[in-house]
């Protein structure tokens, strides 16, 4: 008797479970109610370096103290999982109100309709602080879905002692070397046990496409209503020169090919590599990790026809599902005012997008530790065609990255590289 009762009860629970599942198909929303009390905003931030984390937390605390009616909750995410985390919470209808990410990656979320259009929510004064070219990186189908705030330009960091020993002078911040000069100097810095350059090319695609703008290499061209990949002389210039340094001049270290950004540091600090092209943010590692007697210098971006580079700024966006987009925008204007933006940029060793913030930063640092070069490089950063292409992530992972890795490992020719990139484009951009 007893066990039959239990059985029935168990059945009931099972049924309840099934009913619960059934209702799933119906309603999707059901957000938390917060009808009374202060407005609550969840801010997913990706700051991770010590100083920048502190700067972020300080600013949020300051805001919360000044705005008792709009309280911001600071949630720290991380760069590796943020994409999956955001997609899941967007799809699940449970996204944070304010999202920190990067221009190259929010395009997709923007087109999927998950990010709010900020153009009507921000003041003209605020918008005027940032150049149009930079705004373009976060504008998709006419909608501004992110505020670009930190820029990462590609510079060259060099071992000053080795430059001096080779009789090479440091160029001024505003006018860097041409690619030819860079290659010649790399050659001069190469001798047994020492390479002129270490190109960290574990993820080669963004790197190459960013720099390709030096020679006006666009890779993606509009063709009627569609986009297609074209590889001509402007596109092949940068990969060809890197390949040359690796295999003809042998001034670039082949073992660095599989490395990502900071992996080159042990070799750089030990004098094995004289120069490492990389992000301006590498300066932080210089300050924190270089041996005490190590003398480093930041060289301005290398120039081809121009010093143009693709800008992929970090951005702050507001979720389309946020119940309080106005308050969120209000917070963004505070969070990214010139003084605050300068503070955030300093914490992350990146370049602020705001003109005034940039000036303040140079003034505050006296242009030391490469801040002069970083500030000057901001003018060369612009939007590149690939950033606006819908299928770019797929083209990059499936075709471009493997093809470039093969080319830089000297397994295929330049022509084969071009064919693979174009064919990949045909597959993806249908």
């Amino acid at each position: 008797m007893l066990h039959r009762l239990t059985r029935r009860r168990v059945l009931a629970v099972a049924l309840a479970g099934a009913v619960g599942l059934g209702t799933l198909a119906g309603c999707g929303s059901g957000g938390d109610d917060e009808s009374s009390g202060p407005v609550k905003l969840r801010f997913l931030s990706l700051a991770w370096q010590k100083e920048s984390l502190q700067a972020n937390k300080d600013l949020v605390a300051k805001w919360n103290a000044e705005h008792p009616d709009i309280q911001v909750e600071y949630v720290q995410g991380d760069w590796n999982s943020v994409h999956d985390q955001l997609l899941t919470s967007f799809e699940g209808g449970d996204a944070p109100d304010i999202v920190h990410y990067e221009a190259a990656s929010i395009g997709e979320f923007s087109r999927q309709g998950y990010l709010a259009d900020l153009s009507g929510l921000l003041s003209d004064d605020f918008k005027g602080q940032i150049d149009k070219g930079v705004w373009d990186t976060a504008t998709f189908d006419g909608k501004v879905t992110g505020v670009p705030f930190l820029l990462e330009s590609q510079v060259v960091i060099a071992n000053k002692k080795l430059l001096d020993a080779a009789g090479i002078t440091v160029p001024p911040a505003e006018s860097g070397w041409s690619w030819d000069e860079f290659q010649t100097n790399a050659q001069k810095l190469t001798k047994p046990g020492q390479y002129g350059v270490a190109w960290a090319l574990k993820s080669p695609t963004n790197r190459v496409l960013n720099l390709a703008l030096n020679f006006d290499g666009k890779y993606f061209y509009p063709d009627g209503g569609k986009t297609e990949v074209r590889i001509g002389a402007p596109e092949t210039e940068v990969p060809k020169r890197i390949h040359d340094m690796l295999y003809t001049a042998k001034s670039a270290a082949p073992e660095a090919l599989g490395m990502s950004g900071a992996d080159t540091l042990p070799g750089f600090f030990a004098g094995k590599y004289a120069m490492i092209p990389g992000s301006v943010s590498l300066r932080q590692q210089m300050v924190e990790q270089a041996p005490k007697d190590f003398d480093w210098v930041t060289l301005p971006p290398v120039r081809g026809l121009s010093a143009n580079q693709a800008a992929n700024p970090q951005t702050l966006s507001v979720s389309a599902d946020s119940a309080h987009p106005k308050e969120a925008a209000q917070f963004l204007e505070f969070f990214l005012n010139p003084a605050n933006m300068a503070q955030l940029a300093k914490g992350d060793w990146l370049v602020p997008t705001g003109k005034q913030a940039n000036e303040e930063l140079v003034k505050a640092t006296g242009g030391k530790q490469g801040w002069d070069v970083a500030a000057a490089s901001a003018a060369d950063l612009t939007v590149a065609p690939f950033q606006m292409v819908d299928g770019y992530p797929e083209w990059k992972t499936k075709y471009a990255t493997p093809a470039l890795q093969q080319y830089f490992a000297n397994k295929i020719t330049l022509d084969q590289l071009a064919t693979q990139l174009v064919d990949g484009g045909k597959q993806v951009l249908r």
Partner: protein, 293 residues
């Protein structure tokens, strides 16, 4: 050499002992090889956690830090609330382990001892749920948990972890039950033991090693699980340890290695301690005793 040979030939008993000693030596050597392979990353983790930033980028790394420091531990604990995160993780993992063992034991007994269609279907389903690409299940699972009100709760995490550990638990435990001779049970019931008594006195002791393996599996997979803990828990106070640790990782494979190593070291220890207590139960002799008794 010759005397040795004659001696051993003369005394076969001693010869055997000698061979045993050589065998023992080889066994220790093999074990040492295994442990170096399996445990050296932990040694390196310890070393890293005491190194200042400048020593992390040496071209020729050294095991012993030149200038050992506790700064990484201080940083790890002051910046992220690792203590609270560890406490959260401990609760979730223990609950997952206990519940998994409690519900999987009867089920695996049923699966091993009775042939029913439901049992076959259940086992098949459980295997299928492991096979299907996990990444494609994440969003629907998230939706289900939201719907039943378990999003942003530890209970929701425990539910996921239990379901995650069940396939392993069921497959393993039913294998262990199958290994227990049916005669033992029958002998006990002939002796007049009730079914429950049989279970408790005969089956349970013999199942202990399997239960240890299962509990350990459930505990460690819950302790280390990252993604659901990340998307399901919104309130920072409820965050678990893996989520807190991930915050020391940066862009493109960079990380704040010092604090990460310090935090990871402390995250590794509980699982090891847990196993240190449990491993005694992995001792042979239990079955022998049962047959005799």
């Amino acid at each position: 050499m010759t005397t040795d040979a004659t001696l051993t030939r003369a005394q076969p008993g001693r010869n055997r002992k000698r061979r045993n000693r050589v065998g023992r030596g080889l066994q220790y050597l093999a074990l040492a090889g295994y442990l170096v392979f399996l445990a050296f990353p932990l040694v390196w983790l310890v070393s890293t956690s005491f190194k200042p930033p400048r020593e992390l980028v040496k071209l020729h790394p050294t095991l012993i830090p030149d200038h050992p420091t506790l700064a990484n531990f201080v940083q790890a604990f002051t910046e992220q609330e690792l203590g609270r995160a560890a406490w959260n993780s401990l609760q979730v993992s223990l609950a997952s382990a206990v519940i998994t063992v409690l519900i999987a034991t009867p089920a695996s007994y049923a699966l091993a001892r009775f042939r029913t269609r439901l049992g076959t279907v259940a086992l098949g389903w459980v295997l299928l749920s492991q096979l299907f690409p996990f990444v494609l299940l994440i969003i629907p699972i998230f939706l289900v948990l939201r719907q039943v009100g378990l999003a942003n709760t530890h209970a929701g995490l425990v539910l996921i972890y239990v379901v995650w550990a069940l396939p392993f638990a069921l497959w393993m435990l039913q294998g262990f039950v199958r290994n227990i001779p049916r005669e033992l049970e029958e002998a006990a019931s002939v002796d007049g033991a009730t079914r429950l008594q049989t279970l408790r006195r005969v089956i349970f002791p013999l199942l202990t090693p399997g239960l240890v393996a299962t509990a350990l599996f459930a505990f460690i997979s819950a302790w280390n699980e990252f993604f659901f803990a990340l998307v399901l828990i919104k309130t920072p106070e409820l965050a678990t340890l893996p989520v807190a640790l991930a915050r020391f990782v940066g862009i493109e494979g960079t990380a704040r290695l010092g604090p990460l190593a310090a935090g990871s070291l402390l995250a590794t220890l509980p699982s090891l301690v847990f196993f240190a207590f449990m491993q005694r139960r992995l001792a042979s002799g239990s079955l022998a005793g049962a047959v005799k008794g």
